[in-house]
């Protein structure tokens, strides 16, 4: 069975890394992006099942990502 793929878009390094560690330990496949722009690129590339996205971010904020 293929792993469920999750994309985390969050600018705070600690929070993003810890969250993805927790998800990885729970056997999810995790992609990380530190801003909205990267997030959109990764989302197009990998087509994740779930996207966890912060709202207050530099470059492109959460609402901007959602519009994409």
């Amino acid at each position: 069975m293929e792993k469920i793929c999750i994309l985390i878009i969050e600018d705070n390094d600690d929070i993003r890394e810890s969250t993805s560690e927790i998800l990885q330990l729970a056997s999810y496949e995790v992609f990380q992006a530190s801003n909205g722009k990267q997030g959109v690129d990764l989302a197009i590339k990998h087509i994740p099942d779930v996207i966890l996205c912060d709202i207050m971010m530099p470059e492109l904020d959460g609402y901007g990502v959602f519009i994409f």
């Binding site: 600018d11 705070n12 600690d14 929070i15 810890s18 969250t19 560690e21 927790i22 330990l25 912060d54 207050m56 971010m57 530099p58 904020d61």
Partner: protein, 423 residues
Amino acid sequence: MFQKQLQIHSKIHIFQDNAYVMESAKLLYAIIETAIDGIVTIDNRGKIESLNPSALKIFGYREEELIGKNISVLMPESDKSRHDGYLVNYQSTGERKIIGKGREVRGLRKNGTQFPFRLAVSEVQYQDRVIYTGFIHDLSKEKEAEEFLKKYTIELEELVENRTKSLKKMLHELEEAKEEANVSLEKEKALNRMKSRFVSMASHEFRTPLSSMQLSAVLIEKYLQISDNLQILRHLRKIKTAIGSLNSILNDFLSLEKLDTGIVKPHYDSFDIIKFSEELTEEMQLITKEDQIIIYQHTGSESEISLDQNLLLNCLMNLMSNSIKYSGEHTLIEFSTEINEDGYVFSVKDNGIGIPEEDQSGLFQPFFRGHNTGSIPGTGLGLNIVQRYVNLMDGTIYFESKSGKGTEFTLSFQKNSANNTPI
């Protein structure tokens, strides 16, 4: 016969005429004696010839006291001397002042009191001489009423004026109160804005390290189960870092509180600015981003300055960490010090995100942050604290900034400020 008859007839007639005249004289006499107005007659030199009872009553004399006296005894001092002049003047020029007209004058009673009356004088050609008749209408009552009315009017006017004054005062007070209310409303508004800035800052700045700590705690639990000590240590370090950042926020609050309560007082001492700045630059270089370089340079032949070392250190660290925080990797931060004739100048310049023009006026307010700071952490207290420290040392803070280009902060202090302030 006819002649006699005629004589008799005419005698009767004369008798009848005489009787008529007598009747008329009696009637006139009665009228004069009972008239309410006083009637006085004088001769052409002003000597009193007759008075009616009313005239005597009005002036308070008995008849024998006045007959033959000059009319001027009935006049107050101010009119006396002029009266004879009037008479002479009239008799020589025919110019009338009172005669035939009547006017308001003052009379002198026997008891020395004065009273107003209306005097009407007429000239009577009687037999071969001229006499003058004066009709005296006492105006005391009318005048009294008039005075009373006048007084009453004045009182009323005073009352109105006082009321107007108190109304004006009340209006003024109301306006003042309105002003005061406006001022406190503005204060309230400013306080509210500060509160909302605080809430938005606190929710972000407190939550981030707290979330980080919580996530790390969850992970430590997981790693404990598989005994992965390396990972556990890594997350313990993260928790420590998060505690550190919470601590520094609280330190900012504490500094602010100390400033507010006036506990912070500058303690001046002399130190070498070059050595001080080089150490600071080295220390700050440790927390720069990748390839961010801090360049330090000093201008001036002297290097000894006198300021509060701690407060200055705090200010410069704050400005430099802002520069680090708000500019990207591969950038230069220029830190310079200068001692010139007037004093000391410190400046920190970066090519960071800059401060948008609309945010520049509010920059030093507590909890205020530029709109372009996004998710860059910060309490909005740093510059507020810097400004207050600089003010404590009688210095000034000044900045120039362009959004997207960079910012330069300049602190300047007068040399003699240390001498004027007791240590």
